[in-house]
């Protein structure tokens, strides 16, 4: 019986578990890690909306700040949503301090695409006065602990934080032309769709495992992320290279993603209900 060390031959170590259809941390191939979410006052008190999501060890915090700005000339009735994903050097050894690396930039672009594709927030809803004033939502997603599956946690944190945002009522005074902010009257954001991301890692060109940890991501030969909304529509199929997949395997991923969406939606509804004052 050969001794297979986790540090010396990680791939062989993993293959032993995958043969039995399970993983070293005891999960099955299609099982997610424990997901917990903390919305609102418990997270960032200075932000207009915030949420902290933990997916196993992966911890991601999202803070949303709303500011006022003039809309762009070519889209006078649209506000702005500016997502930014940061992977500071404290979350994992591989990230150095300095300008954002490729992974952070690709994640930021992915989040921007998800917001755009799913139409979870329609930019026209953020407009206060066409051509004069609109809301800018700065969504900062910061990873505090990186243990794989950044995209799922980020999308979830963003959704939870946006559900928590309360925007004060802003009116434009007809006489002076200046804006007046009424901090006492706050309205929640209109969130039309609830996109949820599900990530898979491809092992040895054939096996698909859900919610990979950082170790599994390093050993994987490819990744796939599927974002679905509550109607079962695909907001994003993100497969950045890696092992080739057949259409059927992609379909299996989509089916699992749709089931995951229901689990996450239930969790978020439960948490929102518990924090809303009656």
């Amino acid at each position: 019986l050969s001794i297979c060390s986790r540090t010396v031959e990680p791939l062989e170590y993993y293959r032993r578990f995958l043969k039995e259809n399970c993983r070293p941390d005891g999960r099955e191939l299609g099982e997610f890690r424990t997901t917990t979410v903390n919305i609102g006052k418990c997270s960032i008190t200075t932000a207009d909306g915030s949420a902290l999501v933990k997916l196993g060890n992966t911890t991601v915090i999202c803070g949303v700040k709303a500011e006022l700005a003039a809309p762009a000339v070519d889209s006078a009735n649209k506000g702005y949503i500016v997502p930014n994903v940061e992977l500071p050097s404290l979350c994992a050894e591989r990230f150095r301090s300095g300008p954002p690396g490729e992974e952070a930039q690709a994640a930021s672009q992915f989040i921007a695409d998800v917001i755009e594709n799913s139409q979870m927030i329609v930019k026209e809803d953020l407009c206060i006065a066409s051509g004069k004033l609109a809301w800018v939502l700065y969504c900062d997603i910061i990873c505090l602990d990186y243990d794989g599956n950044l995209l799922d946690a980020s999308v979830f944190a963003l959704l939870a934080a946006l559900k928590n945002v309360q925007l004060p009522l802003v009116t434009i005074n007809e006489e002076t032309g200046l804006s007046e902010v009424n901090l006492k009257q706050k309205n929640p954001l209109i969130i039309r769709k609830h996109p949820v991301a599900t990530s898979f890692a491809i092992f040895d060109d054939t096996l698909l495992i859900v919610d990979p940890t950082a170790e599994e991501e390093d050993l994987a030969t490819g990744t796939v992320t599927i974002v679905t909304d509550e109607e079962g529509r695909l907001c994003s199929v993100h497969k950045p290279g890696g092992s080739p997949l057949t259409g059927a395997k992609l379909q299996d991923c989509i089916t699992r993603a749709i089931t995951r969406h229901k689990e996450v939606k239930k969790l978020i509804d439960k948490v929102i209900k518990s924090i809303t004052p009656k």
């Binding site: 594709n117 529509r233 992609l250």
Partner: protein
């Protein structure tokens, strides 16, 4: 070091690809067991931003899946793509240019790949290789990189939302269209080598 280039132009979209390598890698970037692949995408105007970085990641991981990097450990392969004009289907043009540059350079590959863009129009019909105008009017745009060996999906990225059935239909259409593009690769290579 080998230097090779390929220009890919479906319609009026054209991308110039230059491949350098396998060459000596910087010690900070070299990998002990395989070649380190780097992709740089330069837009037509402006400095490369977050969108270019995201596309570079897609292209890099697609190329890494086909290039037999283990045959050239501790080397660097750089792929530089310059967008000359953009009239729609830019990402699939970049994919095709990248693959032809890899072919031209003679790097060892497990399979070829081609990029196909599908636009889902508001009435539900599928349009391949849309122009910029058609892309704007479309409900969803799906770009796939299809491998030559068994028409499997190497890379997939979507813009806009669509139903699962529509995605599968687009994928099937892309896999069928891939055959035409691979034939184009064969013809181009044949033309290039028949002259000398």
């Amino acid at each position: 070091p080998r230097r090779d280039r390929a220009v890919c132009a479906p319609g009026d979209t054209s991308v110039l690809a230059g491949l350098y390598g396998p060459a000596e890698a910087k010690i900070s970037k070299e990998l002990p067991d395989r070649a380190a692949l780097e992709v740089l995408l330069r837009p037509k105007v402006g400095l490369p931003g977050v969108l270019e970085r995201s596309r570079e990641q897609l292209l890099r991981q697609t190329c890494e899946a086909v290039v037999l990097g283990v045959l050239h450990p501790r080397t660097a392969i750089s792929l530089v793509l310059q967008v000359l004009s953009d009239a729609g289907s830019l990402l699939s043009c970049c994919l095709n240019a990248a693959c032809m540059a890899l072919l031209d350079a003679g790097l060892p590959l497990t399979a070829l790949f081609c990029g196909v863009t599908c636009a889902l129009q508001p009435d539900g019909s599928i349009l391949l290789d849309p122009t910029a105008r058609q892309e704007q009017e479309a409900r969803a745009i799906l770009t796939f990189a299809i491998a030559s060996s068994d028409r499997k999906v190497l890379m997939a990225t979507t813009k806009g939302s669509c139903s699962v059935e529509e995605m599968q239909q687009c994928l099937a259409a892309a896999q069928r269209a891939a055959g035409t593009i691979f034939q184009f690769y064969r013809d181009s290579v044949r033309r290039r080598y028949s002259k000398c």
